[in-house]
């Protein structure tokens, strides 16, 4: 059924349709609307779930860890500092191979404190062993939660999934959403049957100490599963398309790139803006396009190579930066072309939209115009030089 919905409410609705038995969260902007909505659904008796209000994000993540280990589908959501406070548990959940879905309402990192959107929070946890999927719009955010549970709980995966949606832009934005029906959801996502769990009938120990004789293989195993996920994710999205009629590749999306001479690569909601600019420029005869990365972990290097190998000039637009190095997505794209015969002549990197600064259509046009024969290693867009002068003086 299609209706206008706030992103957070839509996510709460799809999570509710996935029937998590345990939900735990701690308030942080801009994630709060999601869990408020879920709390209301539980309070109204519309969702049969244990909603556990905790004293911190560390405990929220720990609660869902415990619930997942007991064999119950579970859910949590957070943002920014909350995700960082969870960080220790985030790594632990993946290390224990527990299936979960977490919504990260992407938000900037303090200091200075800033509640608005960028992607520095989830990007900083890229090495945690979680599958990270980035949504472009509210519909995709909704669908990725359902797809996320399906991937996470599959016996060949057993990895947690972080659905990343830009804070405010998607969590508080309102769009027409086609909400799946319960019957279809149940068909696509059967009830969770754990491979192993805490069970008094069949006692096992979980979370053991692994010494140097064993530790490496546990990390290798996750790394290996991540590689398998590169083929498994598109399989699940293909199945999803059959049931729900919406087609996602799950790894990346190529938008008007076939004959393109200049292509921007990016993630999240900004891809919607980029598509608009691409359409405008195309109407003027400019050969431009977009590659939207949906799966940042696992990173689809082979698919990226195929999508960009014949494009002369590529710009990567990051909503985060690795301070003292380069922009994270740019590093991945460049690595995908390292020592390859076929490669774009120019791969330039741009950083924009930090701390909620709007990335306007003009910002995107500037990126295209800066995509010249001069390679740019890490250029900030919409920087205000007058503020820099102030802070240096």
């Amino acid at each position: 059924m299609k209706e206008f919905q706030e992103g957070s409410k839509a996510v709460a609705d799809i999570v509710s349709l996935c029937k998590p038995g345990v939900i735990s969260a701690y308030p942080i902007t801009p994630q709060t609307h999601i869990v408020e909505e879920l709390a209301q659904l539980v309070a109204d008796g519309k969702l049969n779930s244990q909603f556990i209000n905790v004293e911190s994000e560390h405990s929220a993540a720990s609660v869902v860890l415990g619930a997942a280990a007991t064999g119950v589908r579970s859910y949590t959501a957070t943002s920014s500092q909350g995700l960082f406070y969870m960080a220790e548990v985030i790594f632990n959940i993946a290390g224990m191979r527990l299936p979960l879905v977490l919504t990260c309402a992407n938000r900037a990192i303090s200091a200075p404190i800033n509640i608005w959107n960028d992607q520095q929070d989830s990007i900083s946890l890229r090495d945690s062993g979680w599958i990270q999927l980035y949504a472009e719009d509210i519909q995709e955010a909704v669908d990725l939660h359902l797809i996320g549970y399906r991937i996470s709980e599959d016996k060949s995966m057993m990895l947690p999934v972080m659905v990343c949606m830009d804070g405010f832009i998607l969590t508080h934005g309102i769009e027409v959403v086609d909400m799946p029906q319960q019957q279809e959801v149940d068909k696509f996502l059967p009830s969770y049957k754990p491979l192993y769990k805490l069970d008094v009938e069949n006692p096992i120990s979980m979370g053991l100490l692994a010494d140097p004789d064993y530790y490496t293989e546990t990390r290798y195993a996750i790394h290996d599963t991540m590689k398998d996920a590169l083929t498994f994710i598109p399989k699940v999205t293909a199945e999803f398309a059959k049931v729900f009629g919406r087609n996602y590749n799950g790894l990346l999306e190529e938008y008007r790139t076939k004959d393109a001479e200049r292509v921007i690569v990016s993630m999240g909601s900004v891809c919607g803006t980029i598509k608009e600019v691409v359409d405008e420029l195309r109407a003027k005869g400019k050969k431009v396009g977009l590659v939207k990365i949906t799966s940042f972990r696992p990173f689809p290097a082979a698919a990226v190579f195929d999508a960009l190998k014949d494009i002369p000039k590529v710009a990567i637009l990051d909503k985060s930066v690795s301070l003292g190095s380069y922009a994270p997505l740019a590093v991945e794209i460049k690595a995908a072309f390292f020592a390859k015969k076929k490669a774009p002549k120019i791969i330039s990197s741009f950083v924009a939209g930090l701390g909620g600064r709007d990335i306007t259509k003009d910002s995107i046009k500037e990126v295209f115009s800066l995509l010249t024969n001069k390679e740019r290693p890490c250029e900030f867009i919409d920087l205000k030089p007058e503020l820099l002068r102030e802070s240096y003086e």
């Binding site: 345990v22 006692p203 120990s205």
Partner: protein
């Protein structure tokens, strides 16, 4: 009970480890229908080094400070599955994992009213990392981070009042016990398990390595802590003191002299007086002195 032990021998605890004995007594009292959530610490390390485990019940370890929160999730999941009434959940940790780094998660668990027994194995320092002081390290104790020196007589603060902190949450049952008094320990575990809601049990567990006493003296050292009044065995039910083990108080030296961590105090009357005062205050506060023995 099945023939499978709930906590097997063959683990790698030190000789005379009070915690390993206490852990076995706890799980045997709780029974096979129990899920155990363990903080990081000695017990976790010596009982579950892959590919071996000492545990005959479902057992999980996540991190240093989150057993109370993980257990909350386990309990929530059991409620969702409709199994909570038939399965006990125990969260357990050392003194550092309880009184210091895990205090926030514990407070949350107690406040939320989960049906969980939280067990703190109190060996009075971070033993797993090499005898650093914790919030439950006693006054004047010599540890690697409260060492003796020209300007130091050991740990400068008394033990954090964890039982009272737990009790302040308005929970149904709080108790202390000692591995030196095994029947009392198991009685309290059984009593706690039978009560719905959050329960806090703090067990004094001598550590031969950290306290520097003979491994064969673990039980005796535990008993002496109780008998001197330095480790009062008390029970609170819904905030009311309902039990206090009566003692014929022995001078604190009897306890201190058994352990290397207090050796520096034995010829220091001033410091001994301070520690005697701690014991005397406990005896007074909890009315520990056995009445039949009070001649004076």
């Amino acid at each position: 009970m099945s023939n499978e032990p709930l906590f097997s021998s063959g683990h790698t605890a030190c000789a005379g480890c009070g915690q390993s004995l206490a852990a076995r007594l706890v799980i045997e009292a709780a029974g096979a229908n129990t899920i155990v959530v363990n903080n990081t610490g000695c017990l976790e390390v010596f009982s579950t080094k892959y590919p071996e485990t000492a545990w005959g019940v479902p057992w999980i370890h996540s991190l240093f400070e989150n057993a109370a929160a993980v257990a909350s999730g386990v309990e929530g999941a059991l409620k969702y599955l409709g199994k909570k009434d038939s399965i006990n959940v125990i969260a357990q940790a050392g003194d550092g994992g309880t009184a210091d780094i895990g205090l926030q998660a514990l407070s949350g668990m107690l406040e939320r009213g989960h049906d969980i027994l939280y067990v703190c194995y109190d060996n009075e320092a971070y033993m797993n990392t090499g005898i650093q002081r914790s919030g439950l390290t006693p006054f004047d104790s010599n540890t690697t981070t409260s060492p003796l020196g020209a300007q130091s007589l050991g740990n400068i603060r008394p033990k954090k009042p964890m039982p009272e902190i737990a009790m302040a949450h308005g929970i149904p049952y709080v108790a202390t016990c000692s591995v030196g008094l095994t029947q009392d320990l198991q009685r309290k575990v059984k009593k706690a398990i039978a009560i719905k809601g959050p329960k806090y049990l703090q067990i004094h567990v001598p550590c031969p390595l950290g306290w520097r006493h003979e491994p064969g003296l673990t039980i005796q050292v535990g008993k002496l802590a109780v008998d001197t009044g330095l480790y009062p065995l008390i029970e609170y039910e819904y905030g009311k003191l309902t039990g206090a083990r009566q003692i014929q108080p022995k001078p604190v030296q009897e306890y201190l002299k058994t352990q290397g961590r207090f050796k520096h105090l034995l010829n220091n009357p001033q410091e001994l007086a301070k520690i005697q005062e701690i014991a005397d205050n406990n005896i007074k506060k909890y009315n520990l002195k056995a009445e039949s023995q009070t001649g004076s």
